[in-house]
Symmetry: C2
Subunit: 350 residues, 2 copies
């Protein structure tokens, strides 16, 4: 009886609104119709100030939180956004997920993360799950789906995809310029006097891999350095493959003074491989990666890399999807890749 307005709370647990309070209850409490409550919650129509006040009070008092599930059924939108990533434990995509979550949550949207495992079939299943969950839109981080499939999905709901050049109604593609990034990295090595530059490629199935290879060749060409196929080793974007690739390179007895690995994870593997052969970075071999993972800053020596912020990319993707959702024609600009020179590269001694 301490507080007359709180008589309902007597038997309720410490944390309020534990028993589900519905929109109907709010309506009754405020003495209006459910429709009016809904209108106020969504700003769908103008309501008299008096009623609005009463409803707001009732909402506060009861601690009403609308049920997204029911909202989904009734309104056709679930306020949830599907996000197809490839693995949940990737240092690169992890940041993207964080960026996405940060943008979405404050706006009442929940991201629904699923991972495609770099496998087109699994990815297709992911899309199905998301569709069955009635997400309002989907963000696809790169992935292996065909452009055509993606366009098809876009007919049903807004889609944002990263790492591609693509355009279709209801579809926005956030292309990251891998060619340019790789060119930058290679050019950096060339600028330091290197001429024999090995390249550890990524998984050949991966679109990024091909582009980064292109960038490598482009830089060589610009510097009039003849491309030598013996200097490229195939990797798979993971640490182990970088280690392996260095082994292959060394075994071929082809001379090189620098290595450009198509991502940081492989570069780290490569660094270990070099050290296994008593080769020091950067004294004996300069090394540069791609992605600028947080951990690269702390590798030994700190790894030079190409920065393409996954975090910002994630934020941007979320933003663009939100624009798409609100029916706007999305305008956006993917930040350009940026060279981050650190201690793993050094000028070639003459």
């Amino acid at each position: 009886m301490k507080n007359p307005s709180a008589k309902r709370s007597t038997k309720e647990p410490v944390t309020a609104q534990s028993a589900t309070v519905t929109l109907d209850m709010v309506a009754r409490e405020a003495g209006v119709s459910p429709a009016t409550v809904s209108r106020i919650m969504n700003g769908t129509a103008v309501v008299s100030a008096a009623r609005k006040e009463a409803v707001d009070a009732a909402i506060a008092k009861l601690g009403f939180v609308p049920n997204p599930v029911a909202r989904g059924l009734a309104g056709g939108r679930t306020f949830s956004i599907g996000v197809v990533t490839q693995t949940l434990d990737s240092p690169f995509y992890g940041s993207a997920l964080r960026g996405i979550e940060e943008k979405l949550l404050p706006l009442g949207y929940s991201p629904l993360f699923v991972s495609g495992q770099w496998n087109a079939e699994v990815e297709a299943k992911c899309m199905d799950v998301l569709r069955s969950r009635r997400v309002d839109g989907i963000i696809v981080l790169t992935g292996r789906l065909t452009d055509k499939a993606l366009k098809n999905y876009a007919k049903t709901m807004p889609i944002v995809v990263t790492g591609r050049k693509l355009s279709a109604p209801g579809l926005a593609a956030l292309y990251c310029d891998n060619v340019e990034g790789a060119r930058l990295a290679t050019q950096h090595l060339i600028g330091l006097g290197h001429r024999q530059i090995a390249f550890i490629s990524g998984d050949p199935q991966h679109p990024d891999a091909a582009e980064r290879f292109q960038g490598y060749r482009k830089a060589l060409e610009e510097a009039r350095i003849k491309f030598d196929p013996a200097l490229v080793a195939e990797g798979g974007f993971y640490e182990a493959s970088g280690l392996q690739a260095v082994g292959d390179l060394l075994a071929s007895r082809k001379r090189f003074t620098a290595i450009f690995a198509a991502n940081d994870q492989m570069a780290v593997g490569a660094a270990l491989g070099l050290s296994r052969h008593s080769l020091r970075v950067p004294e004996d071999v300069s090394l540069i990666g791609y992605d600028d993972l947080l951990s690269s800053l702390y590798s030994n020596p700190p790894l030079s890399s190409v920065h393409q912020s996954a975090y910002e990319l994630g934020q941007l993707a979320a933003d663009v999807l939100l624009q798409l959702l609100s029916g706007e024609k999305p305008v956006f600009q993917v930040p350009a890749p940026r060279l981050v020179p650190r201690e793993s590269c050094r000028r070639l001694a003459v």
Copy 2:
């Protein structure tokens, strides 16, 4: 006309069931009532073989996929599981998320990941979001919520929490023995002849940090080595803090021959710090971490660590929650931490 049974597919897009197919439609197609279809989908009751066949055929033909949203509203369960992690881009928790997803997806459950940012308030909000989304249960990865709060939540729905000792109805706690793990690490160094062993602690707010510190002291005690507070530096579980801590340690001019960092990320930072001071690992200083991140295998030199598989932990958490959901009393066993000696530690020269 190639396939007579596919005549409907003429005007449909390549990927079937793009237009939403409802249970009602299946019922009509099969010439039965919606209830019967529902019964067959859920195995709720026995139905005649004839009808079952007809319904199965209709389902296949139409490509019917039940709508989880509607299911949630009607049946009270959403087949989605909330997962509270701390950050989406943590190498350690990332593996746990992967383990959870792998267990849940095949059973028709979708994990709903939200991140608490190591902040009790944010985490509480996460719980609210999950509750409002009507998840069937929640997995909390460590986190900062009080045990009491957790028990309270458990009254509403099944909860599995990792990294705690705790017991309550509807609540299962997967405790990881950090004390033992840290003891193992320290003991390993002692066994190699080290007596001056520095300790880089984790974020003091973090429960794991305190326990690992305990384990460190316990091992010293067992070996009758006097604990020296001057040998412990405070870190924060991130690379940067490891770097910083080594600086502090070195600045104190206190002699030490080995370092135990309370996690691998700090150990990597520490390694860089040592190298900045021209100290080699393991020739001058032995170094061991905790968590056994995948990347630790490829750090230079490969980092000794304590293995506590986040991946398995995630799988286990999902399993246990599933048990809870099915009303069973969960039985489980958290795998014990395991020492993983690698090249970053060496026997102290006499």
